[in-house]
C-alpha cells in the first residue's frame, strides 16, 4: 500500500488536497438544483448527495495517510511549505505528526456520518447547510495541519463561522441565544491568543525585519523570558480551555449542543472540542514548557480537570434533557483528556489521545441516536420515553452498546482511553488519579439511569407504542461507529503505535525543557 501511495506522490499533494476538496465541494453544492422538478416544492436531495459523496471522497483520500505515515519518524510528515503573505512573514506550512494523523482521520470519518445524520432532519436551505459543513471541514482540518501560527489562527477562526450559522439557522428554539453565546464565548479568548501569536511573531523578527510565525522556529527560539512565557501561555491556555471546555468555562457547551442540529452536535462534540486539547498538545505545552510545568499552574489545571470529571458527571446525572446530559458528559470526558495531558507521562498522554478519539466516536454516536429518536417523537426529554426497548429493539441495542462504550466498559474503546489516562496519571499525581477514577462510578450512574428511563421501565405512554425502529440508512450510519468502538477497544495497538512517537516527543520536550530550557533548545536546533 505504501509503495502504491509513493508511486502517485501521495505525500506531496494529500494535505492541500484535503483542504481544497471541501472548498471546491462547497461551490458544487451551491450549484445544485434548489427544488425537485416534480413541482412538489420539496427541496432537491441533490445537495446532500453531492456532499455525502464528497465526504466519502475526502475520507478515502485521507485514509492513505494511515499507511503512508511512518510511525518511527517523529518529525513532520507529508509536509508542504509555500509562501503566503511574505510581507508579514506568514507561510502556508502544513504537516502532520502522529497526533494530527489520528485527528484528521477522526474528522474525515465523522463527516460523512454527520451528513447521513442530517439526511432527513435538515429540510430547509439544504444547499447552504451542506456548503457550510464542507467549509467547516476545511477549517477543522486546517487547524490540525497548520505549522504556522498565523495560518493556524486563520483556520481556528474559519471553523467558528460555519458552526455559528449551523446552530443559528438550523438549530432548535433557543438557537439565536446559543449561537451568539457560542460565538462570543469562544471568539473572545481567541483574540487574546491572536495577540499572543502576533507578539511571538514579532519577537522572532529577523534581519529582514519581517515577523515570523513558523512553529518550528518558535519552538527552537526559546528567547522568551519566563514572565512573558507565563502570560503567553495564559493567553493560549484560556483560548483552548474554553474550547475544551474546561470547568468552569463550559457553560456555552450545553446550550450550543442542545440547540444545534444533530450533525452540529456530532461535529461539535466529535471534532471541535478536540481543537482545545489539540491546542494544548501542539502549542501551549511545547511552546511554553516552563509555564506549563510550573507546579502551581499545573496543579490548578489538573484540579480543574478532575473537578470537570466529577462535576460534569454529577450535573449530567440530573439533566431532564437527554441531549444536555450527553453535553455534560462531554465535560466529564474532556476532563480525563486534560488530566492525561497535564499528568505528562507517556501512558497518560497516549490515553488522553485515545479519549479524544473515543469521545469523538462514542459521543458522536450518542448524539446521532438522540437525533434519531428526536426525529420520531420531537422531544428530547428523558421522561417522555420509557420502555421503548420493546418497540424499537434495534435502537435499544445500539443505544445500550454506545452507552457502555461511553462509560468505559473494557473491550470497548472507552476503557482503553480512560485506563491509560488513569494508570499514567497515577505515576505523577496518584491522589488526583484516584479521585478521577471515581468518575467511572458516576459515569455508570448517569448513563445507565438515563437509558433505563428511556429504554426500560413500563411502556406507559401511548405515543411511544408506535415509534418506528431504525431504518436502513440509520443502521448504515451507526454500524461504522459500532465497528470503530469494538476495533479501538479490542485492538488499539495500531493506533497507539502511530501516536507513540509524537506523544513521547511531547513528554520529553515538555518535561525535559522545563528544568533546563537552554540545553534542550540546543539539541532541538541540532535535530
Amino acid at each position: 500500500m505504501a509503495a502504491f501511495l509513493d508511486s502517485i506522490g501521495y505525500n506531496n499533494w494529500v494535505l492541500p488536497a484535503l483542504l481544497i476538496i471541501p472548498l471546491i465541494g462547497s461551490i458544487l453544492v451551491l450549484l445544485a438544483p434548489v427544488r425537485t422538478t416534480d413541482g412538489t416544492g420539496v427541496e432537491s436531495p441533490a445537495a446532500r448527495q453531492i456532499a455525502f459523496w464528497l465526504f466519502i471522497l475526502e475520507f478515502i483520500v485521507s485514509l492513505g495517510l494511515w499507511w503512508s505515515f511512518n510511525p518511527s519518524n517523529t518529525g513532520w510528515q507529508a509536509s508542504v511549505d509555500l509562501p503566503w503573505i511574505p510581507s508579514w512573514g506568514v507561510r502556508f506550512t502544513l504537516g502532520i505528526d502522529g497526533i494530527a494523523l489520528m485527528m484528521i482521520l477522526l474528522t474525515t470519518f465523522i463527516m460523512p456520518l454527520s451528513v447521513l445524520g442530517s439526511w432527513t432532519s435538515i429540510r430547509t436551505k439544504t444547499r447552504s447547510y451542506y456548503a457550510l459543513l464542507l467549509i467547516l471541514t476545511s477549517g477543522m482540518l486546517g487547524v490540525f495541519l497548520a505549522r504556522d501560527l498565523f495560518l493556524f489562527y486563520v483556520f481556528w477562526e474559519v471553523m467558528l463561522v460555519p458552526m455559528y450559522f449551523i446552530i443559528g439557522i438550523w438549530g432548535g428554539e433557543r438557537r439565536i441565544y446559543a449561537s451568539i453565546k457560542f460565538f462570543i464565548y469562544t471568539f473572545l479568548p481567541s483574540l487574546l491568543m491572536l495577540v499572543a501569536i502576533i507578539y511571538m511573531g514579532l519577537q522572532l523578527r529577523g534581519q529582514t525585519g519581517t515577523p515570523d510565525f513558523s512553529y518550528d522556529l518558535l519552538l527552537a527560539a526559546g528567547t522568551l523570558s519566563s514572565r512573558a512565557a507565563l502570560w503567553l501561555f495564559a493567553a493560549f491556555a484560556f483560548a483552548f480551555a474554553v474550547k475544551v471546555p474546561m470547568f468552569p468555562f463550559h457553560t456555552w457547551l450545553p446550550d450550543a449542543h442542545v440547540e444545534a442540529p444533530t450533525a452540529g452536535s456530532v461535529i461539535l462534540a466529535g471534532i471541535m472540542l478536540k481543537m482545545g486539547t489539540f491546542g494544548f498538545l501542539r502549542f501551549a505545552l511545547p511552546l511554553f514548557p516552563g509555564a506549563a510545568m510550573n507546579p502551581t499552574v499545573r496543579l490548578i489545571i489538573l484540579i480543574l480537570a478532575v473537578i470537570g470529571i466529577i462535576y460534569g458527571a454529577l450535573v449530567a446525572m440530573v439533566q431532564p434533557d437527554f441531549k444536555k446530559l450527553v453535553a455534560y458528559s462531554s465535560v466529564s470526558h474532556l476532563g480525563f483528556v486534560m488530566l492525561g495531558i497535564f499528568a505528562l507521562t507517556l501512558q497518560s498522554v497516549q490515553g488522553a489521545l485515545m479519549v479524544m478519539i473515543n469521545h469523538g466516536i462514542s459521543t458522536g454516536a450518542l448524539f446521532l441516536l438522540v437525533g434519531i429518536i428526536y426525529e420520531r417523537r420531537h422531544t428530547r426529554l428523558i421522561d417522555s420515553y420509557g420502555g421503548i426497548a420493546r418497540v424499537v429493539p434495534m435502537f435499544a441495542a445500539m443505544l445500550t452498546f454506545v452507552s457502555l462504550s461511553s462509560i468505559g466498559l473494557p473491550g470497548t474503546n472507552g476503557f482503553v482511553g480512560e485506563f491509560l489516562v488513569l494508570i499514567g496519571s497515577f505515576r505523577t499525581y496518584p491522589v488526583l488519579a484516584v479521585i478521577a477514577a471515581t468518575g467511572v462510578i458516576f459515569a455508570a450512574a448517569y448513563l445507565l439511569w438515563a437509558i433505563q428511563r428511556i429504554l426500560f421501565n413500563p411502556l406507559d405512554k401511548p405515543e411511544n407504542t408506535h415509534v418506528p425502529d431504525l431504518n436502513r440508512r440509520e443502521l448504515a450510519l451507526l454500524l461504522p461507529l459500532i465497528a470503530a468502538i469494538i476495533w479501538l477497544g479490542v485492538y488499539p495497538a495500531p493506533v497507539l503505535r502511530r501516536m507513540e512517537g509524537s506523544a513521547q516527543l511531547l513528554v520529553n520536550r515538555v518535561t525535559g525543557t522545563a528544568g533546563n530550557v537552554a540545553a534542550i533548545n540546543a539539541s532541538e536546533v541540532g535535530r
Binding site: T120, R123, K181, P248, T251, Y311, L314, V315, M317, V318, L346, Q347, Q350, I372, E375, R376, G387, A389, R390, V391, V392, P393, L404, L409, P410, G411, V416, F419, L420, L422, I423, G424, F426, A433, V434, A437, V440, I441, A444, L448, Q452, F456, N457, P458, L459, T465, H466, V467, P468, D469, N471, R473, E474, L475, V490, P492, A493, L496, E500, Q504
Partner: protein, 738 residues
C-alpha cells in the same frame, strides 16, 4: 489465524497438546452470543426511510413496510416480544445453539483437563495472541494463561453452565425474549471464561466487568418492570464501586513493580515485601473489588435485588460462577495477599462478618429466592474466610462444592417457582409464586425436586458425606490451625492479636453454620412440608417440570453427593478407605502452594485428636440446627402471604434486612441527587457560572453599550452637560490635588 500465534510456549509440557485450543473455549460461547443476538434482533422491523414524519402520520409510511407494522400492532406488541403467547420463531434453533456451544466448550475443557493431568505442568501455559495496549513500558498483551487454578474454574463454568443452559431451555421456553436470553447467557459465559483465563489483570478485568454487564442485562431481562430495571442498574453501579478499587490496585501495582501479568507478578512480588504498607494497600483496594463482585460487606446490597432476574440466571451468575470471581481473584493474587497479614486478616474478618450477617437475614425471608440469595452471600463469606486465612485450596474447594449445591438449590427453586407459576397461571391467580407462605406440602407434587433439594440442604448445612461438609469443615479447620500458629496469628489487626481474631472468626463461622442449618431447614419445611397453601384448584395444576429441567437437577444432585471426594481430608482417608485424599490440594499445589507455605511457615501440626474434635463439633452444630428448626417451626400453622401479620420489633428489623438499603438511600443516593440538581446544576452552573459570570459579563458589556449609546444620542444639550461636568470634575481634582 492470528489467534494461533503461540509464542514462547515451545518448551512447555502442554504445547502441542489439545491445550493449544484454549482460545476456543471463550470463542464458542461468543459465537453463540452473536448468532442468538442476531436471531433476537431478526424479528425487529426496519423503520420508514424518512422518520421525521412518522410520529404524526403513521400511514404515510412506504407501502412495503406498512403491513408489517400493522400486523405487529394487531399482535398486541411490537418487536422482540411480539409473540406474546406462542414460542419464538427461532426457539428450536436457539435451543440447539445456546446450550450446544456450552456443551462443546465443556467437552473441550474436559479434554484439556485430561491433557493437564497427563502433563502435570508446574508452570502456567501462556498463549499470547496480540498486543492489546502497548504504551512505552506498559505492555499489556491479549494473552491467556492456563494453569490448574483456571482449569478448575473453567470446568465449573462450562460444566455447571451447560447444565443451567439446558435447564433454561425448559424454564424459558414460552418467553418472548427467548433468543435474547440465550444471547446474554452465552455472552456471560464468554466473559466469565475471559476472567479466569486472562493472563494479566487488565484481561481479567475485561471479564470482570463483562460478567457484570451480563448480570445487569439479565437481572433487568424483563425490563418493562421498573423493579427489575432498577435492580440491574443497582448491581452494575455497586459493582462499579468495587471495580474502582480494582482499578486503583492495578495502578499501584504498575507504578511500583511495573507489571500487570501474573507471571511477572509472581516474579516481582518479592520486591514489594519490604514495603508492608504498600502491599496492604494494594490488597485492600483489590479486595474492595472483590466485595463488589462477590457481594461482601459493604457492597453486598445488590445481590438480593439481583434475584429479579430469571431463576436460572440466579443459579449460574449469582450463585455458581460470577459471584465467586472475587474468591478466584484472591487465589490468583495469593502471592500478594500472603505478603500482607493485615490484608489477609481483613479479608477473613469481612468474610466472617458477612457470613453471619447474611445468615441472620436469611432466617426471616419469605421469598424462596431471597433466602437462597442471603445464603449465597453467607457462603461466599466462608470462601473469603478460607482465602483470607491463606487456605486458598479450602476456599476454592468450597467455591466448587458451593457451585454444585447452590446451583441445585436455585434450579430446584426454579422448578418450584415454575410449578407455582403454572398453577397460578392456570387459574388466573395473581398471588406471589415465590413466597414460601403460599407454598407448603409441595413434596407430594414435586417429589424429584423435593429429594434433590433436601440433598442440597444437607450439603450446605454441613452434614457428611455431602459435598458442603468437607469444604466447610476444611475452611473452619484451617482457621483453627492458623490461629494456633502462622504469620497471621503473630500479626496484629487494628491492635487485636491475630490469634485471638482467628479464634473469633472460627466461632463466628460455627455460629453461622448453625444458622445456615436453621434457615435452610426452615425453607424446606415451609416449601415442601406441612399442608398445601396454594389453594384447591391451583394444587390440581401443580406438577414436576419436564425432564429437560429435572435432568440437570439430577446431575447436580449427584455432584452434590460426591463433590466432597474432590478433596477428602487426610484424617478421613486414614480411617475410611473412600479413595485418594486431598486431590484438589495436590492439583492446585503449583499455583497456590508457595503462598500457603508462606503463611503457615513454622506452624505446629494440629494434633489428630483436635481435628477429630473440630469435625465432631461442626457436625453436631449442623444437626442441632436442623433439629432446632424442625422442632420449633410449625409449617402446619403458617398463614399465607395474604393473611400474614407483619413482623414487629427486632424480627421486623431483620425481615427488612436491617434497613440498610433505606439507610443508604437516605444517606447517599438522595442527597447526591439533590445536591447535584439543586446545588451544582441550578446554583453553581446555571446561577453562578453561567448566570453571573458569563451572562453577567455580557450584560455588563450591554450596559456599557447602552450608556455609550445614550451618550452619543446626538442631543447637543447632553453633550454640553457632559462637558460641564467634566470640566468641573477636572478643576475640582486639580484643586484638591494641590
Amino acid at each position: 489465524m492470528m489467534l494461533l500465534q503461540a509464542v514462547a510456549t515451545a518448551t512447555h509440557p502442554l504445547s502441542g497438546s489439545v491445550a493449544e485450543w484454549v482460545w476456543l473455549l471463550p470463542v464458542l460461547p461468543l459465537i453463540g452470543f452473536v448468532i442468538n443476538g442476531l436471531l433476537s434482533l431478526n424479528s425487529a422491523h426496519f423503520g420508514p426511510t424518512d422518520p421525521s414524519t412518522a410520529g404524526h402520520h403513521p400511514h404515510s409510511q412506504s407501502a412495503a413496510e406498512a403491513p408489517a407494522i400493522s400486523h405487529a400492532e394487531e399482535a398486541g406488541a411490537v418487536g422482540d416480544d411480539h409473540h406474546a403467547v406462542k414460542r419464538h420463531r427461532f426457539a428450536g434453533l436457539v435451543s440447539i445453539i445456546g446450550p450446544g456451544v456450552l456443551i462443546l466448550a465443556f467437552a473441550l475443557a474436559v479434554m484439556i483437563w485430561q491433557a493437564m493431568v497427563g502433563a502435570h505442568p508446574t508452570t502456567p501455559f501462556i498463549q499470547r495472541y496480540f498486543s492489546w495496549m502497548p504504551v512505552g513500558d506498559l505492555q499489556i498483551d491479549a494473552a491467556f494463561q492456563l494453569d490448574q487454578l483456571s482449569m478448575v474454574m473453567v470446568l465449573v463454568i462450562t460444566g455447571v453452565g451447560a447444565l443451567i443452559h439446558i435447564f433454561s431451555v425448559g424454564y424459558m421456553q414460552d418467553d418472548p425474549g427467548y433468543p435474547r436470553y440465550f444471547a446474554y447467557l452465552n455472552l456471560f459465559v464468554f466473559f466469565m471464561l475471559m476472567l479466569v483465563l486472562g493472563a494479566n489483570y487488565p484481561i481479567l478485568f475485561i471479564g470482570w466487568e463483562g460478567v457484570g454487564l451480563c448480570s445487569y442485562l439479565l437481572i433487568g431481562f424483563w425490563f418493562n418492570d421498573k423493579a427489575n430495571a432498577d435492580a440491574g442498574k443497582k448491581a452494575f453501579i455497586v459493582n462499579r464501586i468495587g471495580d474502582f478499587g480494582f482499578l486503583v490496585a492495578m495502578f499501584m501495582l504498575f507504578a511500583n513493580i511495573g507489571v500487570l501479568d501474573f507471571v511477572g507478578l509472581n516474579a516481582h512480588a518479592g520486591e514489594l515485601a519490604t514495603n508492608g504498607g504498600l502491599v496492604t494497600a494494594i490488597c485492600l483496594f483489590m479486595f474492595l473489588g472483590c466485595t463488589g463482585k462477590s457481594a461482601q460487606i459493604p457492597l453486598y446490597i445488590w445481590l438480593p435485588d439481583a434475584m429479579a432476574g430469571p431463576t436460572p440466571v440466579s443459579a449460574l451468575i449469582h450463585a455458581a460462577t460470577m459471584v465467586t470471581a472475587g474468591v478466584y481473584l484472591i487465589a490468583r493474587s495469593a502471592v500478594l495477599f500472603s505478603l500482607s497479614p493485615v490484608a489477609s486478616l481483613t479479608v477473613a474478618v469481612v468474610g466472617a462478618l458477612t457470613a453471619i450477617f447474611a445468615a441472620t437475614i436469611g432466617l426471616k425471608q419469605w421469598d424462596i429466592k431471597k433466602v437462597l440469595a442471603y445464603s449465597t452471600i453467607s457462603q461466599l463469606g466462608y470462601m473469603f474466610v478460607g482465602v483470607g486465612v491463606g487456605a486458598y485450596v479450602a476456599g476454592m474447594f468450597h467455591l466448587v462444592t458451593h457451585a454444585f449445591f447452590k446451583a441445585l438449590l436455585f434450579l430446584g427453586s426454579g422448578s418450584v417457582i415454575y410449578a407455582m407459576h403454572a398453577a397460578y397461571h392456570a387459574t388466573g391467580s395473581h398471588e406471589d409464586a415465590q413466597d414460601m407462605r403460599n407454598m407448603g406440602g409441595l413434596r407430594r407434587y414435586l417429589p424429584v425436586t423435593f429429594v434433590l433439594m433436601w440433598i442440597a440442604t444437607l450439603a450446605i448445612s454441613g452434614i457428611p458425606p455431602f459435598a458442603g461438609f468437607f469444604s466447610k469443615d476444611e475452611i473452619l479447620g484451617s482457621v483453627f490451625a492458623r490461629a494456633q500458629g502462622s504469620t497471621l496469628a503473630s500479626a496484629s489487626w487494628l491492635g487485636i492479636p491475630g490469634n485471638y481474631l482467628l479464634y473469633a472468626i472460627y466461632a463466628i463461622g460455627l455460629a453461622a453454620a448453625f444458622m445456615t442449618a436453621v434457615y435452610m431447614t426452615r425453607m424446606m419445611l415451609y416449601t415442601f412440608h406441612g399442608p398445601n397453601r396454594t389453594g384447591q384448584r391451583e394444587a390440581e395444576n401443580l406438577g414436576e417440570a419436564p425432564w429437560v429441567m429435572t435432568g440437570p437437577l439430577v446431575v447436580l444432585g449427584i455432584l452434590t453427593i460426591f463433590g466432597g471426594w474432590l478433596n477428602l481430608p487426610a484424617i478421613v482417608t486414614e480411617y475410611v478407605p473412600l479413595g485418594p485424599g486431598q486431590v484438589l490440594e495436590h492439583w492446585l499445589e503449583p499455583v497456590v502452594g508457595a503462598p500457603t507455605e508462606h503463611i503457615i511457615a513454622g506452624a505446629p501440626q494440629t494434633p489428630a485428636t483436635t481435628e477429630e474434635f473440630l469435625i465432631g463439633a461442626a457436625v453436631i452444630i449442623a444437626v442441632v440446627g436442623i433439629l432446632f428448626a424442625w422442632l420449633r417451626l410449625k409449617p402446619d400453622r403458617l398463614p399465607t402471604a395474604r393473611e400474614a401479620v407483619p413482623e414487629t420489633g427486632f424480627e421486623k428489623v431483620v425481615a427488612h434486612k436491617y434497613y440498610v438499603d433505606e439507610g443508604l438511600d437516605r444517606a447517599i443516593v438522595t442527597p447526591t441527587y439533590a445536591a447535584s440538581r439543586n446545588f451544582l446544576w441550578r446554583i453553581i452552573d446555571n446561577g453562578l457560572i453561567d448566570g453571573f459570570f458569563v451572562n453577567g459579563s455580557a450584560a455588563l458589556a450591554r450596559g456599557f453599550g447602552w450608556v455609550g449609546s445614550r451618550l452619543q444620542s446626538g442631543n447637543v444639550g447632553i453633550y454640553a452637560w457632559v462637558l460641564v461636568v467634566g470640566v468641573l470634575a477636572m478643576l475640582g481634582a486639580l484643586t484638591l490635588h494641590r
